[in-house]
């Protein structure tokens, strides 16, 4: 049925695959069948995908082909495959946030983000693994098992959106919905050589995103390049009546980025030398293209991680209180209500989730709230002001995504603090609510990807994405695919 020679090249972006469809080289059905084959092969080998919706994807692709034949194509995402992270609800399949607590949970409803994509003709092909309730930086806390990094299968893909990134890093034609609370889309993108944006908080509706830290959470696109991320964001963004924190942002274009501040704190001690060097040389490459580069320090970078630990866990402790063994989720055995709560939550939550709930409960509890939670709120506001100050002198901030390269599976999982260190450069954008774009930058000596991020002012998402597109015209590292991901 599917004529393989007619499919686009494996590294083709969504934009290129769409052109391929428009030019009639293949049908959406053929594209989807080809992608399903990849998911069932490499996707399963990496353990990145949890559920695959073969029949529904094929039907949706056929409908897309009919529209195209009648000249009624819905636009750049029509007939294009995409996946959603397990913490994003979908009408199809289950939405368990990779937690035993929600095993088999049938949300029976698409998150607003998913609904908008499907309305734009995009084809939901599967659900991807992630850290349990998106709490992790290595995808090792998933109830669906460890996910491999496509560039070195002994290494982690990053997290929590590890499944999304592993797929985005190893095959084109598609995009993926992940989420980012403290770096959960950017760090795996950097680890897997993909492009991803954490939008301005409120740009994308959170309805249907299973909450971790609500004031930090955003649903994010991850794909092969900045063009694709922008096409997806244009469908996702906009006020949603079901999320009162979703913004009515002015989508008129912002002035292009002409001046970038290299953040010196992100290049010093604690950051791998190869990463610091790669980001510095990226800055030089930008400079050679006429971008003005200045070097600045970002106030409170160290306190940001502390602030994040307090606020994210405090919110999580409350968000996860609904899993009580009564309304949704697993239930333990007990005739006593209080014991029922405790045993259900013991069975349903993994140890990292329980650690975070414990810390979050502690920082909100009587006698400690002022010293921890309230102080963190105050510092958060200072962090936001600090970014604004730097942005008075430039259009975007440049810094690495991760302080170190993808690490071997099992290396950090027993040391929570070592895992929390992954977040130090990414949490600032979440605390300030500003957008941050992760772009492939280079490869280290072990041929492992290095990512960098650009952080912009509130609402400047599209300016960042347009700058990302320019960058990807100067530097094509994002096109590289790992060996062994071929079908």
């Amino acid at each position: 049925m599917s004529n393989r020679s007619s499919l686009p090249p494996m590294d083709a972006t969504v934009g290129e695959a769409q052109q391929w469809l428009t030019d009639g080289h293949c049908t959406s059905r053929q594209l989807i069948d080809g992608y399903l084959e990849f998911l069932q092969g490499v996707g399963r080998e990496l353990n990145a995908v949890v559920e695959i919706f073969i029949e529904s994807a094929q039907q949706t692709a056929d409908q897309s082909d009919q529209r195209r034949a009648q000249g009624k194509c819905f636009g750049p995402l029509d007939g294009i495959p995409f996946t959603a992270k397990m913490n994003i609800t979908t009408q199809l399949g289950s939405s368990d946030a990779s937690s035993p607590m929600l095993r088999g949970f049938q949300a029976q409803e698409d998150a607003t983000a998913v609904r908008r994509l499907r309305a734009a003709g995009a084809v939901l092909v599967g659900k991807t693994s992630c850290d349990e309730f998106a709490m992790g930086a290595s995808n090792e806390t998933s109830s669906h098992g460890v996910v491999s990094n496509p560039w070195d299968r002994e290494r982690v893909p990053g997290g929590s959106s590890g499944g999304s990134a592993a797929l985005a890093g190893s095959h084109g034609w598609s995009f993926h919905l992940g989420s980012d609370t403290g770096g959960s889309i950017r760090q795996p993108a950097a680890f897997c050589n993909a492009t991803a944006i954490k939008p301005t908080w409120g740009r994308v509706s959170r309805r249907g995103l299973i909450a971790f830290g609500s004031s930090l959470d955003q649903i994010c696109p991850i794909a092969r390049d900045a063009v694709d991320c922008q096409s997806v964001l244009q469908v996702l963004e906009g006020h949603d009546p079901l999320d009162s924190t979703s913004l009515r942002l002015d989508s008129s274009s912002l002035p292009p980025i002409g001046r970038v501040a290299l953040i010196s704190d992100g290049l010093g001690p604690g950051i791998d030398a190869s990463i610091a060097t790669a980001v510095r040389s990226a800055a030089q490459q930008m400079a050679s293209q006429g971008i003005e580069i200045i070097e600045r320090s970002l106030p409170h970078l160290e306190a940001a991680n502390a602030c994040y630990q307090v606020i994210s866990t405090a919110e999580a402790s409350s968000n996860l209180a609904r899993y009580d063994g009564v309304h949704v989720g697993v239930r333990g055995q007990s005739e006593d209500l209080q014991q029922l709560y405790e045993t259900s939550r013991h069975q349903g939550f993994g140890s990292e989730v329980r650690r975070r709930i414990l810390l979050g409960t502690f920082v909100l509890s009587a006698g400690y709230q002022d010293a921890y939670y309230n102080r963190a709120l105050a510092v958060r506001e200072l962090i936001r002001q600090g970014i604004d100050q730097v942005l008075e002198e430039c259009d975007a901030l440049l810094l690495p995504v991760s302080p170190f390269a993808p690490f071997p599976i099992g290396e950090r999982i027993d040391d929570p603090l070592a895992l929390y260190a992954c977040d130090i450069l990414t949490v600032t954008a979440n605390l300030a609510g500003v957008p941050a774009l992760a772009l492939p930058c280079d490869f280290d000596e072990e041929k492992l990807p290095i990512g960098m991020q650009l952080m912009g002012a509130h609402g400047s998402d599209h300016a960042l994405l347009e700058f990302g597109q320019r960058w990807q015209r100067w530097n094509d590292k994002h096109r590289a695919l790992p060996q062994g991901s071929a079908r």
Partner: protein, 481 residues
């Protein structure tokens, strides 16, 4: 039960919870309902499903503003919603959304009547908005069943300062608040359904003491009598404890209405730690001055002003006035009867005697009542102009309701009352001739058959004979025969 000790002064603080009468719930588009079938009005938001987010109901905010204006509170431009975290099966999110740190209204007062008849003022601390919890019911098999229909219904919590008062006065404060909230359309005030309920804080101190005693809290009182009695009983209990040299513990106690006693609660934590923090899912609520003005402009004449008008100006009997003021819509309908030309006395009679009776018989609300004030007035004017009898007037209104048509149509088909002497005498003579026994009895001093003869005359005249005149003629003819 111990009697009252005169040297003790009772201080009461109230938290009044009023469910706002919106169409949908506080944070989702589910129908606000107290329906009997459990779990019929649920969605992912009020059930606390993963991924669902709250969105504030405008109508709840508007009603809340009306309540704040009417209770003389300061409406805050910026307010916020917080999360009150605790585990309970009727609370599916594991937290209740409530305005803790920054309520939308501060200050204000409840006006009430003191036991000696003087006006009392109970100052308010604040009013805040929050969502209600669901309900748990004990099942016969030893389990509890959870019904979330009520969950996330919009509530107002009115928190008062503590004030020295009696149990009756505390109940009166709640009564006057209930009356006010019903009047301005904020809450239906149905206490049996729990749509209005109060928590009562009680403490006692010796006369002359400047420091208040330790208080206890009695939760979820849903009748005036339980508020009145629980204050009296609890203050007496505290006096016994203190007089015996004991201490009052700050605690929540249960009120048992049947036994008329308060009990310690079992299975509750000593001091709950609710870990309040701002709900990140809800932005700051901004209430502009224009929002407040709009609500103020649309508020009805206050119930106090209306009462004064009815009793002092219109000279309506105080008890009759209360039944007209039981709901604002009653008062409005009554005012329409006045506007359409009825005198206060006759409007009061026809409203209470007919309209309220119809509503009661038909089990419908005044909003559903099909007759207009103008159409009723047409009939009343026919009665007062002697064109038809009172009984006929009532009959016409009832027939209009039964047939679903306008009273004017029936009135038009009804022949005018006949007062013509000759015609009346003709009918009466005919009836008296046909019933000689009855006439004999009457002449012998037995007035019983008079009613029977009256009925026969009305029948003979097809109901058109003027009843009072018929009676006069009957008596005259019988006596003269």
């Amino acid at each position: 039960m111990s009697g009252k000790t005169t040297s003790w002064k009772t201080v009461v603080g109230l938290e009044i919870h009023a469910q706002m009468s919106t169409r949908s719930k506080m944070f989702c588009a589910c129908v606000r309902s107290t329906g009997t079938t459990p779990n019929q009005h649920l969605c992912p938001v009020c059930t606390g499903w993963p991924g669902a987010l709250p969105v504030i109901n405008q109508a709840a905010v508007r009603r809340a503003i009306r309540a704040a204006i009417s209770l003389d509170c300061g409406v805050q431009r910026e307010s916020r919603f917080d999360r009150k975290n605790y585990f309970y099966p009727d609370l599916p999110k594991g937290y209740q959304i409530s305005q803790f740190y920054r309520p939308y209204a501060l200050g204000g007062a409840i006006q009430f009547e003191r036991d000696d008849g003087s006006p009392g003022v109970l100052p308010l601390v604040r009013i805040h908005m929050e969502e209600d919890a669901g309900k748990s019911v004990h099942a016969e098999d030893g389990t509890s069943r959870i019904d979330l229909n009520r969950c996330s219904s919009p509530l107002l919590e009115i928190v008062t300062e503590p004030l020295q008062m009696s149990g009756i006065e505390a109940a009166r404060c709640v009564r006057s608040t209930r009356e006010l909230l019903r009047w301005i359309g904020v809450c239906d005030g149905d206490m049996e359904k729990g749509n209005l309920r109060a928590d009562v804080n009680v403490s006692i101190h010796r006369e002359g003491d400047t420091v208040l005693g330790t208080r206890t809290e009695l939760k979820n009182l849903n009748s005036f009598v339980s508020i009145e009695r629980s204050v009296e009983v609890e203050s007496a209990r505290q006096a016994v404890v203190l007089e015996a040299g004991g201490m009052i513990r700050q605690e929540t106690r249960l009120w048992d209405q049947d036994l008329e006693q308060t009990e310690e609660m079992r299975g509750k934590e000593d001091s709950p730690d609710y870990r309040y923090f701002p709900d990140p899912d809800l932005p700051v609520l901004i209430i502009e001055a224009s929002d407040i003005d709009r609500e103020r402009d649309s508020l009805p004449e206050s119930i106090g002003a209306r009462r004064t008008r009815y009793i002092d100006q219109l000279k309506i009997d105080a008890r009759d006035a209360e039944s007209i003021l039981a709901r604002r819509e009653f008062g409005d309908f009554f005012d329409q009867l006045l506007a359409a030309g009825l005198s206060p006395a006759s409007a009061s009679n026809w409203f209470r005697g007919e309209v309220l009776k119809h509503l009661n018989d038909r089990e419908e609300s005044i909003e559903e009542y099909p007759l207009t004030a103008a159409s009723i007035v047409e009939v009343v004017e026919a009665v007062e102009g002697d064109r038809i009898s009172v009984a006929k007037g009532r009959e016409i209104l009832q027939a209009a309701l039964d047939q679903g048509c306008s009273p004017a149509n029936i009135l038009a088909q009804t022949g005018e009352q006949v007062s013509d002497e000759a015609a009346l005498i003709g009918w009466v003579q005919q009836v008296v001739d046909a019933n000689p026994d009855a006439a004999t009895k009457i002449r012998a001093g037995d007035s019983k058959p008079l009613g029977f003869l009256m009925g026969q005359v009305m029948k003979a005249s097809s109901g058109q004979a003027h009843p009072r005149r018929v009676q006069e003629i009957l008596q005259r003819l019988i006596q003269h025969d």
